[in-house]
């Protein structure tokens, strides 16, 4: 199976079941093009976070096929996975910050694993913290910040490498309108420079007036009719219509 060079993420008939029998995603198929900004909406438990976790390989699917930036995640070698992960920024819903380390260290870590120039790291981190309104928190331990500030640090870390793909799980869940605007501005900037974004949110305000694609997940299925969505992969549609498991 080859991936169109314009495709960043592809899911074909992906199913994820959590023990004992919680169907988080059921036969989900999706294509996200390079440079696209996609909003995944849905109530809590709809499967948004699971989908992001599958794309960043925090979880593995029970069925189906996932390809990211041309890599089949089922067959990817450890070294290639490490490189791929450096190109994917993830703003986790639970932040995954190191509470004893400073805001700067938390953000810089994403760039340090790629052995980037220390000066470039300092500049990039300073820029991101400034954009997100937390420049004055640079040397404070992440554990001492409010939830909203921690969320912005997590987003800054996800954006640090100017990644090819950025996955954000409820990136504005704890933010006031002003901070939400800052995060959205940064997302738009990243998107304008070529970053593909997949944003899982149940905050309608951030996608209400957007011209970007919005997909609604409900009980592990895309709510909108797949046939109406031009970006659902034709192969996925074919497989779905044949009703045979992958």
């Amino acid at each position: 199976m080859t991936l169109n060079s314009q495709t960043m993420v592809e899911l074909v008939k992906v199913t994820k079941i959590y023990p004992p029998d919680i169907m988080a995603l059921v036969d989900v198929s999706l294509v996200v093009k390079k440079g696209e900004m996609l909003f995944l909406t849905g109530v809590s438990g709809a499967g948004k976070s699971t989908l992001l976790k599958l794309v960043c390989m925090l979880e593995t699917p029970d069925k189906g096929f996932i390809e990211v930036a041309g890599h089949d995640l089922h067959r990817i070698k450890p070294a290639a996975l490490q490189k791929l992960r450096q190109q994917i920024g993830v703003a986790y819903q639970d932040f995954k910050l190191l509470p004893n380390q400073s805001v700067f260290q938390n953000v810089a870590m994403a760039m340090e694993v790629g052995y980037q120039n220390p000066k470039a790291i300092r500049n990039r981190v300073a820029f991101l913290l400034d954009q997100l309104g937390i420049a004055n928190k640079r040397n404070i331990a992440a554990g001492h910040l409010s939830r909203g500030e921690q969320q912005r640090v997590a987003f800054a870390r996800a954006a640090a490498n100017s990644p090819a793909l950025l996955l954000a799980d409820e990136p504005t869940g704890n933010l006031d309108p002003g901070a939400t605007r800052m995060v959205l501005n940064l997302m738009e900037q990243l998107n304008a420079t070529g970053t593909t974004l997949i944003i899982a949110t149940h905050d309608e305000s951030i996608h209400r007036n957007t011209s970007q694609r919005v997909l609604n997940l409900e009980q592990g299925h895309f709510f909108s009719a797949e046939d109406d969505d031009p970006d659902i992969h034709p192969l996925a549609r074919e497989i779905a219509s044949a009703a045979t498991p992958l």
Partner: protein, 295 residues
């Protein structure tokens, strides 16, 4: 360049986060090296003292009768058949008497009424330096006792046997302390690295998710083991040297250490102990990484 910076930074962070355990491990490694090196130093010095004394080792066969010149060649051959020897000297009754008289010096008068043939003839055998072990001396002695005309074989049995048993005991102590060194370094370092892994579990998991390479995560832990070995063994050897210098200053004299000519390890041996300790500590680190770190 940047690689080195981040690896050293990670190493420093590891050491800072678990400094208490690191210090305990460092002291354990130092103590193990000190114990092992202490016994090894005594062992090597005793062995070299033994070798010096061994240079003067000779076996004397007391004979029933004088050995006629024709027999001498035959006896020499039989002795050399068992083991090559340095020198064989045949001593007649008269030569033994003269030697005793010479040794008595001014007191030789005590021999005035004695028959010059009252001493038995003998053969003095000076073995080569490769005849060092107690077992080989004992077996050579037993062989000499079977030679025709041999009455008794003497070589300072009691002293040689006691010395042999002592060096054997010391060898066992050295081996045990070497075992202690291996166990303490490998297990303690392995345990410390494991503790580092548990302490930094969340951070390591996050690094994995951020795409950190195996080298980025593992190298600092290997450096940690390396440093434990380097610093621990250096401290241990330094402590031993100070102890050695103190003992030599306070107890050396003609009757004690002077007799043994007690010396410290040569630089090569010191370096070898350091290298082995570093290798063992690095091994301990590697064991934990392999066992507990899945990247």
């Amino acid at each position: 360049m940047h690689y080195s910076i981040y690896i050293l930074k990670q190493t420093a962070r590891n050491l800072r986060q678990t400094w208490g355990t690191q210090t305990m491990t460092l002291l354990t490694v130092s103590l193990s090296v000190l114990i092992f090196a202490f016994f090894f130093l005594i062992h090597t010095n005793i062995l070299s003292a033994g070798a010096r004394l061994g240079d003067e080792l000779r076996l004397i066969i007391y004979l029933d009768d004088e050995v006629v010149p024709e027999m001498q060649a035959q006896l020499k051959k039989r002795i050399n058949d068992f083991t090559e020897v340095e020198k064989i000297i045949f001593i007649s009754r008269q030569e033994a008497y003269d030697q005793l008289a010479e040794n008595l010096g001014r007191d030789r008068d005590v021999l005035a009424d004695m028959d010059p043939s009252f001493l038995p003839p003998s053969i003095e055998i000076y073995p080569k330096k490769d005849l060092k072990t107690l077992t080989s001396i004992q077996s050579f002695s037993s062989y000499l006792a079977t030679l025709p005309g041999a009455q008794k074989v003497q070589y300072g049995q009691v002293w040689v046997e006691k010395f042999g048993y002592f060096t054997n005991l010391l060898r066992i102590v050295v081996m045990l302390s070497a075992g202690l060194l291996v166990l303490s370094t490998v297990f303690m370092v392995s345990y410390t690295i494991r503790l580092t892994l548990f302490t930094r579990h969340e951070e390591l998991e996050l690094l994995r998710l951020l795409g950190a390479t195996n080298a980025y995560i593992q190298t600092p832990l290997l450096i940690e083991g390396f440093l434990q070995g380097l610093l621990g063994s250096s401290l241990g050897m330094l402590a031993l040297y100070l102890l050695f210098a103190w003992i030599k200053r306070h107890f050396s004299g003609p009757d004690f250490l002077g007799a043994f000519n007690f010396t410290f390890f040569p630089p090569t041996a010191t370096l070898a102990i350091l290298m082995v300790s570093i290798m063992l500590c690095s091994l301990g680190s590697l064991v934990s990484i392999r066992k507990f770190l899945r990247v």
